[in-house]
């Protein structure tokens, strides 16, 4: 299915060093162009974990672009995420299980290829995020190890000899970007090595006029060599994904994998839920009483749950899917079964006791795992709400006008102004719904010290309504405590 280029046979001293030093490693390099598919047996669990852990990182990278993070910020965030979910140590880190780290990196990449090759848009986004991840790792790679990696692969660049360099000296120097000081720049130029590649391989350098062009050949100074590598990575991956897409129908027969792949490709839409996924347990240790919900909704709920709450108050009713989504959310928020029955009974105040008990009470108890299958149902994540057009994510399903009205009426008392809306709406337009939601969180919690780009704290994006509410309540509590402390002192 995947065709890879053969690694060049070892031929120079550097490679020999590599053999003697690290010959025992199955993956000799930290960096990987993913030429060969993993051809070993993998369990379905491993398949899924590797992919999910990598997806977390890619989703964070993608949301960084929407959140206007600088390259340095992006690197910091990504490196932090990588050390949690996908550590990848240098070859020199002998005490670490480097092969198993690299195997996980290798496997995760290929699983995600399967998930993301299936539409042009997904391919484009995957390539962009993967290339960024590669750049971050390339940047951080040890110089000698990077050199070794580069020489392990044929990049097909032609060294420009000194005769040719002096033949085009004027033009090369003329396009050499360097220090403002002329003689410093010229000195650096004299020492610079040049490589020739077809111009199509370095469009970013051409665009910025950083190379000299002659008859379709770009003369690339060694310091810009990484451009060739990155471009090669990108083109290589794009081709591989197209091949994968064409061979995918055969894979669709494997019924174990398809749901996992579907789920993964949703991950870019919603971000990857972290601890919020799969948990049906209440996450708040403090008891929440039915009569507290109004106040909590105003202060702490994301727009999806806030809208459901407001609708419930307005209509004294909520349709089935709304009850399900909102009920599970409240359960995880910390509303006990007894309080839930009270809450819903009071909310549906136009119903007779008889009707309520017959038609609604069972379902409430059921969602708490007290009836039927007795399953402990988890609250819906952003990912699930994003695919539910009925009582789903307002950022996705509301018209722009309705969304803006809803946001202002819900949050203007918490610091959201109409001036903030254009940024939020343009993020929505770009289909980065979770980024928009995260931004609203940041704005409405700025008085708690949440800065732009900080997400729900710790650079996390919103991936679950309960995460949103819990983080908000946590911030509120911290402030309350410190205020109390001050009063006491």
């Amino acid at each position: 299915m995947f065709k890879g280029t053969e690694r060049k046979p070892f031929h120079d001293d550097k490679d020999l060093v590599q053999v003697t030093n690290h010959g025992s490693l199955r993956y000799p390099h930290r960096l990987n162009f993913y030429d060969r598919p993993p051809l070993y047996d993998v369990t379905v669990e491993e398949f899924e974990t590797c992919a999910l852990d990598r997806l977390r990182i890619l989703a964070e990278i993608e949301s960084s672009a929407a959140r206007n993070r600088t390259w340095e910020e992006l690197k910091t965030v990504t490196n932090a995420q990588c050390s949690n979910y996908l550590p990848l140590h240098a070859t020199s880190a002998r005490t670490v299980e480097r092969d198993s780290e690299r195997r996980k990196d290798h496997l995760g990449h290929f699983v995600l290829r399967l998930a993301f090759c299936r539409s042009e848009d997904l391919r484009r986004r995957f390539i962009k995020a993967e290339t960024t991840l590669f750049k971050i790792r390339y940047d951080a790679d040890d110089n000698a190890e990077r050199e070794m990696f580069l020489s392990s692969r044929d990049f097909d660049w032609m060294p420009v000899d000194s005769a040719e360099k002096s033949k085009y000296r004027k033009e090369l120097l003329g396009s050499y970007q360097g220090a403002r000081n002329e003689s410093v720049r010229e000195q650096a130029f004299e020492a610079e090595k040049y490589y020739k590649v077809k111009w199509t391989r370095v469009p970013d350098l051409v665009e910025k006029r950083k190379v000299f062009l002659k008859a379709g050949w770009a003369y690339v100074p060694a310091k810009e060599q990484s451009s060739i590598v990155f471009q090669e990575f990108e083109v290589h991956l794009a081709k591989a994904l197209e091949l994968t897409a064409r061979s995918l129908p055969r894979l669709d027969e494997d019924t174990r994998l398809v749901p996992i792949l579907d789920n993964l490709s949703q991950g870019f839409l919603a971000g990857v839920p972290s601890q919020w996924a799969g948990s049906g347990e209440a996450i708040n240790s403090d008891d929440i009483k039915a009569e507290m919900v109004d106040d909590l909704a105003k202060k702490h709920f994301p727009i999806c749950m806030r809208s459901m709450h407001d609708n419930l108050r307005r209509d004294h009713h909520l349709k089935h899917l709304g009850r399900l989504h909102y009920g599970l959310f409240l359960k995880v928020l910390g509303l006990s079964i007894e309080e839930a029955v009270v809450f819903w009974r009071k909310s549906f105040d136009r119903l007779t006791d008889d009707k309520f008990n017959k038609e609604y009470k069972y379902n409430i108890r059921h969602s708490y795992g007290l009836e039927g299958k007795r399953a402990n149902y988890a609250a819906k994540s952003c990912q699930q709400l994003l695919t539910s057009s009925d009582h789903g994510c307002p950022y996705r399903y509301y018209s722009p006008e309705n969304l803006q009205t809803a946001l202002l009426s819900a949050y203007s008392s918490r610091g959201l102004t109409s001036a903030d809306l254009s940024e939020i709406m343009s993020t929505v337009k770009a289909t980065h719904y979770h980024v928009a939601c995260t931004r609203v969180f940041e704005i409405t919690h700025s008085s708690f010290g949440i800065k732009k780009g900080a997400g729900t704290g710790d650079d996390e994006s919103v991936t679950h309504p309960n995460q949103y509410a819990a983080k908000s309540m946590e911030l509120y509590k911290v402030q309350q405590n410190s205020a109390e402390a001050m009063v006491v002192e």
């Binding site: 396009s175 720049r185 062009l213």
Partner: protein, 416 residues
């Protein structure tokens, strides 16, 4: 336009033109690169603009005859050529999702006279004359040389757009396959003056704010002559107050600016040539090698570029799936045929002498009268009109392209 000959592009005239004169076979060869139909033709999108501005997209044809048949049936006011897709455009609806993608198309450029309005004095808007055509001519020379020398492309076809601009179609294999990113990179490499409101701002193309990149250094040396002949002498662009104020805006030395302004306000009749000399002599007052002099010299180079460097409509070139009017279509307002232009003889090209559809049909009538020909439809009717040299030009271009493709193919076969 001066000579107000009524323009007839009525449906009857257009139909006669398509039936008897339009060189379908030549267009086929040029798009197809070979004699037998390839995907370059069969998977190629054609879009028709019908009378009443109905727009039909995603048409495709097996060969030149099919194209001709459809054109004669629909009788469009014009038609456009798009990319080669991974499936036949006419089967777009039945193609598997994700399996209908643009793969190839000529790299195209569009230069339009309206972008030169701020720097020409003879005409404005839709009007054009031989004098301001010189701006287009300068642009063609620079672009033609740059593309060939820097990017190494050889198969460049220049086509008059029928009114006030010119198109460039590049058919080299590599150029055909460029991705949108690569197209964007190439266009940005070529772009110096950004259109729209930015066009009056100072240029920003220098490395370290100091020297020009080598490609532009070469261009500015060539354009200096054109600047003096066209901008200073012929168009006299800095004669009016508006004109010289625009010039002053581009001089980054407030002392020099105020001196020149005082002088020119006192004597507004000074010619553009004199005003340029005034600026030069101001620069020379600074010591050779001084920073101020270097700044002024750089500004003067930038000004030359600003007034004469090609103004490219970047959006046309950046996207593989952009549609562009086919050569030999008729401009509905002028009736002129979009004929190929020889870049080596740009100076001789006069847009007003390009044949109109009415004129060509008349020529055809006159030619067929003696001998009482039956007026049958011949493929080569254009041979008897003044369209001939233009069709010959396209045929010659295609022949070279086809020969190249043939040799490349043979090269590949031999290497087996």
């Amino acid at each position: 336009m001066a000579n107000a000959v009524p323009v007839d592009t009525s449906p009857e005239v257009m139909l006669a033109f398509y039936r008897r004169l339009y060189p379908f076979k030549s267009i086929f060869n040029w798009l197809n690169h070979e004699h037998a139909p390839t995907r370059l033709f069969t998977h190629r999108e054609f879009a028709f603009t019908l009378q009443g501005d109905v727009y039909l997209r995603y048409n495709s044809f097996n060969n030149a005859d099919e194209l001709k048949k459809q054109v004669c049936q629909l009788n469009p006011t014009r038609f456009e050529i798009g990319p080669v897709y991974s499936a036949r455009p006419k089967d777009k609806k039945t193609a598997r999702p994700g399996m209908f993608n643009p793969l190839k198309r000529e790299l195209v450029f569009d230069i339009d006279m309206t972008d030169y309005d701020p720097v020409r004095t003879c005409c404005s808007g839709a009007d054009i004359c031989r004098r301001c055509w010189a701006f287009i001519s300068a642009a063609v020379q620079v672009l033609h040389t740059s593309i060939r020398e820097q990017f190494g492309y050889e198969n460049l076809l220049w086509v008059y757009s029928g009114r006030r601009g010119i198109h460039l179609w590049i058919s080299d294999e590599e150029a055909m396959g460029l991705t949108d990113d690569q197209r964007k990179a190439l266009v940005n490499w070529m772009t110096v003056i950004h259109g729209g409101s930015e066009s009056s701002k100072r240029l920003n193309v220098r490395l370290n704010g100091r020297h020009l990149p080598p490609s532009l250094q070469t261009a500015v040396e060539h354009l200096a002559t054109i600047f003096s002949e066209l901008v200073l002498s012929d168009q006299d662009v800095f004669a009016s107050q508006e004109g010289y104020e625009a010039l002053l805006e581009q001089i980054p030395d407030s002392e020099v600016v105020s001196k020149l302004r005082t002088k020119w306000n006192a004597d507004p009749s000074r010619s553009s040539e004199d005003k340029w000399l005034d600026l030069k002599s101001q620069a020379k007052k600074y010591e050779k090698g001084s920073a101020q002099r270097a700044t002024l010299t750089a500004a003067m180079e930038d000004i030359i570029l600003h007034y004469t460097y090609p103004r490219i409509d970047a959006e046309v070139s950046k996207h593989r799936n952009h549609l562009l009017k086919a050569p030999f279509c008729v401009h509905p307002k002028t009736g002129r045929v979009c004929v190929p232009v020889d870049p080596q003889r740009m100076d001789e090209f006069d847009p007003e002498s390009v044949p109109t559809v009415g004129q060509l049909l008349k020529e055809l009538d006159t030619a067929s009268k003696p001998g009482g020909a039956e007026g049958g439809v011949h493929h080569s009717d254009w041979e008897r009109t003044s369209l001939k040299p233009y069709v010959d030009m396209l045929d010659k271009h295609s022949l070279r392209l086809m020969e190249q493709v043939r040799l490349e193919k043979r090269g590949k076969d031999v290497s087996w």
